[in-house]
């Protein structure tokens, strides 16, 4: 039983991810942009964060950088849904550069996500 922060501007994506996590027995925190996500991380100390790259206001990479500036330990999964100029390879390269723990490319499926979380939290 872990507390997982889901940061995604897309309500449906957020809900579907949280539903999968809840059914798997995790508690979820939902944020629709980087700024909200940062507040949750600061205040709620989640065990893991799933962060979308493309978001309005403060995007996923900025959030990632801010988190890593003070917290090297929080496991973070970067989610890319494509976007102008975006590819899985590039997302992976960026994840490497900024010390995200894993990258998922939408649409990813529940099994894949849960397996990854299990590994990261074990």
């Amino acid at each position: 039983m872990s507390r997982i922060l889901v940061v995604d501007d897309d309500e449906y994506v957020r809900e579907s991810v949280c539903e999968v996590l809840n059914l798997a027995g995790h508690e979820t925190l939902e944020a629709s942009n980087g700024e909200e996500g940062m507040t949750f991380i600061d205040n709620e100390a989640p065990d893991l964060a799933i962060i979308d790259i493309w978001m309005p206001k403060v995007d996923g990479l900025t959030l990632l950088r801010r988190v890593r500036a003070k917290n090297q330990d929080l496991p973070i999964i970067i989610v890319s849904g494509g976007g102008p100029g975006e590819t899985l390879e590039r997302a992976t390269a960026i994840a490497d550069t900024y010390s995200a723990d894993h990258v998922l490319f939408k649409p990813f499926e529940s099994d894949e996500l849960l397996e990854m979380i299990r590994k990261l939290l074990s």
Binding site: D10, Y12, G82, P84, E86, F105, P107, E109
Partner: protein
């Protein structure tokens, strides 16, 4: 006989007596003796007269006699014989009347008349008169007065001589002398006379003037005392002497001399010869000096101009500029060796004498049409330029660019360049440009595909995951089947989106070996085109080649993106340095860049912009990271560069300090197959 006076005649005899008779007889005897004597004297006289007459008629002068009124009463026959003039024209007239003069008005004749009136003897009186034929006649005459026994003046007797021929000859000689003098004085050429030792004795005004003098004496002094090669000084004297001694004369001997100022050089041509006296001794040299400075200058200029023309023709040949001369009627008259080389021929006889249209078997272009166009254009506008394609005997094609213009007479001159290389480069450039356009199109497509993919993935993600959730909770096989169909379709849709994204992001194409030095120069040309005018793009490449395996289009894209970024940092004003070097990265340096140690081509792009602050230096290759205002950039530029360079197994390093500009270095592994690169300069 002095003057032909008669012997004294005795007086009448006195009355007779015996004594008287005796006296008479004595007297008679004396008389007889006297008569005898007289007869003898008469005979003598007669003889003397005859002699005189003979003399007078044989002499070259004539005898005349004037009466007491000074009028001619006798003129000897020789007058007519000598002068051809009848004496009657003078008989009964005074001498001045014969000369048509009036002593009352004419001083010359008045003096003569006074002399006669004083009954003085005169000698060698010269005068002239006009003959009946209108001929000017000159005479010289001498005369003495004669008197009777009582001392009465009877007239003048004298002789005269004709001087007409002599005077006319003298006048002619004087005229001749005058005209020679005038020629000497006014001659355009210098005329001189010098001693056998070479000392100048005489120089005409032209010669004096030639050397900048005004006075002959001053000139002669200067010449004869000159130590310098001033004027015809010592060296010239020696040359002249030697030249003349050899053959007696010199002809058009040329020398460069100085004038009076010792500054101006004069070229003169001297012709001179020696003049000998009756013993064969050389008296002096005489000669002419002609100023040939202008002529020599013209000749020198002509020679120089000829040499220059020849040098131009040779230099054009060496510079691989083709040259040909043609006429419409006679075809090709001349081709240089460069042109022969261009068209793959070895001997000018293969083309000389032919017209362009005769060489059609070599032509890809229509030579006859080109020929017509050329002559038309030259006739209308005075020149022509055009291209033609030529097939060499070995089948290779050369592209020639000609510029033609009228030449001497009806000939045309054609300057021809082999533009094959440029043409090929243009074609390559065109291809590259097309490739770039294509890659930009692909990039735009990728952007669009990425955007659509983002939207679709955000929809497909919940569709798939919610379906999975439902499927977990439903046991009706039919409903489960329906849901598996939904999943199947959704996953297919996700694959299509993913494939599309992959396709759109596929690189511009394969990689191959390329010389990055050369490629950098080409990239710079494309880059120049996208930069504002106020940006100075400076290119620096090391010598030699830097061979690496890249995609040319991608490389140019990288250069352009980095330059674009540099330009944005400088806000359109400043200098961008684009540099390509070869570097050897050792272990530590390579490790910092996550590269293996070895040789790398290093592309450096520096700007003079505001620099990149430390805190954002690490993020500049992130997608969507941008310091630019909204609407000025997507922030994707450097990410694309990053992706491309990663693809080449290269690395990027950025150095910058805020306010001091930024330098981006792109390291690209050099191919080991390449020839060893020369040492990098200027890093």
């Amino acid at each position: 006989m002095k003057d032909g006076t008669m012997a004294d005649i005795p007086e009448e005899p006195p009355e007779c007596s015996a004594e008287r008779l005796k006296e008479l007889a004595d007297t008679n005897a004396r008389l007889q003796a006297k008569i005898d004597e007289q007869s003898l004297a008469l005979a003598d006289l007669e003889e003397s007269r005859a002699q005189l007459s003979d003399l007078a008629s044989a002499a070259s002068d004539w005898v005349w006699k004037l009466d007491d009124q000074l009028r001619f009463i006798f003129i000897s026959d020789s007058f007519e014989r000598i002068t051809g003039i009848s004496p009657s024209m003078a008989m009964g007239k005074t001498r001045w009347e014969v000369a048509g003069a009036d002593p009352d008005c004419d001083e010359f004749w008045r003096q003569h008349r006074d002399c006669l009136m004083a009954r003085k003897t005169f000698r060698d009186f010269r005068y002239s008169f006009i003959s009946a034929e209108g001929q000017q006649e000159y005479s010289r005459t001498s005369g003495v007065p004669y008197f009777n026994g009582a001392g009465r003046f009877l007239g003048y007797r004298g002789t005269a001589i004709r001087e007409t021929d002599e005077i006319l000859a003298r006048q002619k000689a004087a005229q001749l002398e005058q005209s020679y003098r005038e020629i000497y004085e006014n001659a355009v050429v210098g005329i001189f006379r010098a001693t056998p030792e070479g000392a100048f004795l005489q120089a005409n005004p032209a010669m004096v003037k030639l050397f900048g003098f005004t006075d002959e004496k001053e000139f002669l002094e200067a010449v004869n005392n000159a130590a310098e090669n001033l004027i015809p000084g010592p060296p010239l004297r020696i040359a002249l002497k030697k030249g003349i001694e050899g053959s007696g004369s010199i002809e058009a001997f040329e020398a460069e001399l100085l004038d009076k100022t010792l500054k101006n050089h004069i070229w003169v041509s001297i012709s001179a010869s020696e003049v000998r006296d009756e013993n064969g001794t050389v008296k002096y040299f005489e000669g002419m000096v002609r100023d040939v400075t202008k002529q020599n200058k013209a000749e020198t200029e002509l020679k120089e101009s000829e040499a220059r023309n020849r040098a131009i023709v040779e230099a054009l040949d060496r510079a691989q500029v083709g040259l040909s001369i043609t006429t419409a009627a006679r075809g090709i008259l001349y081709v240089n060796s460069s042109l022969l080389k261009f068209v793959g021929l070895t001997d000018e006889s293969q083309v000389v004498g032919r017209k362009l249209a005769d060489l059609q078997r070599h032509g890809l272009s229509d030579f006859a049409r080109i020929g017509r166009e050329m002559y038309d254009s030259i006739a209308k506008t005075g020149s022509w330029k055009g291209d033609l394609e030529w097939r060499r005997a070995d089948g290779t094609i050369v592209y020639l660019r000609a510029r033609s213009a009228p030449f001497i007479d009806d000939a045309m001159i054609h300057v021809i360049l082999d533009t094959t290389e440029r043409k090929e480069l243009e074609q390559r450039e065109l291809k590259l440009e097309e490739g770039l356009k294509q890659s930009q199109k692909m990039e735009a497509l990728g952007q669009m595909a990425g955007g659509i993919a983002h939207e679709l993935n955000n929809l497909l993600h919940p569709v798939i995951n919610f379906t999975l959730l439902i499927q977990d909770q439903i046991e009706d096989p039919k409903l489960r089947h329906y849901l598996s169909r939904v999943l199947e379709c959704s996953r297919k849709a996700a694959n299509i989106v993913s494939d599309g994204l992959t396709f759109a992001h596929k690189g511009a194409g394969e990689r191959k070996m390329a010389d990055l030095m050369e490629l950098t120069k080409r990239a710079a040309r494309f880059t120049r085109g996208i930069l504002p005018m106020d940006i100075e793009l400076k290119i620096r490449t090391a010598e030699g080649a830097a061979i690496a395996e890249v995609n040319e289009t991608e490389f140019i894209q990288v250069v352009m993106k980095l330059a674009q970024n540099a330009n944005d940092a400088m806000e359109g004003v400043g200098q961008i340095l684009l540099q390509m070097d070869c570097v050897n990265l050792d272990g530590a340096d390579a490790e910092k860049l996550s590269l293996e140690a070895g040789e790398y081509a290093c592309l450096i792009v520096s700007d003079q912009g505001h620099g990149i602050p430390d805190d954002i230096l690490d993020h500049i290759f992130e997608p969507f990271f941008t310091t630019k205002q909204v609407g000025r950039g997507t922030g994707l530029g450097l990410t694309v560069v990053y992706g491309i360079v990663k693809g080449w197994n290269g690395a990027i390093a950025v150095e910058s300090q805020k306010g001091e500009g930024a330098t981006v270095k792109v390291y690209i592994p050099m191919s080991h197959k390449a020839e060893p690169a020369p040492e990098a300069k200027g890093i």
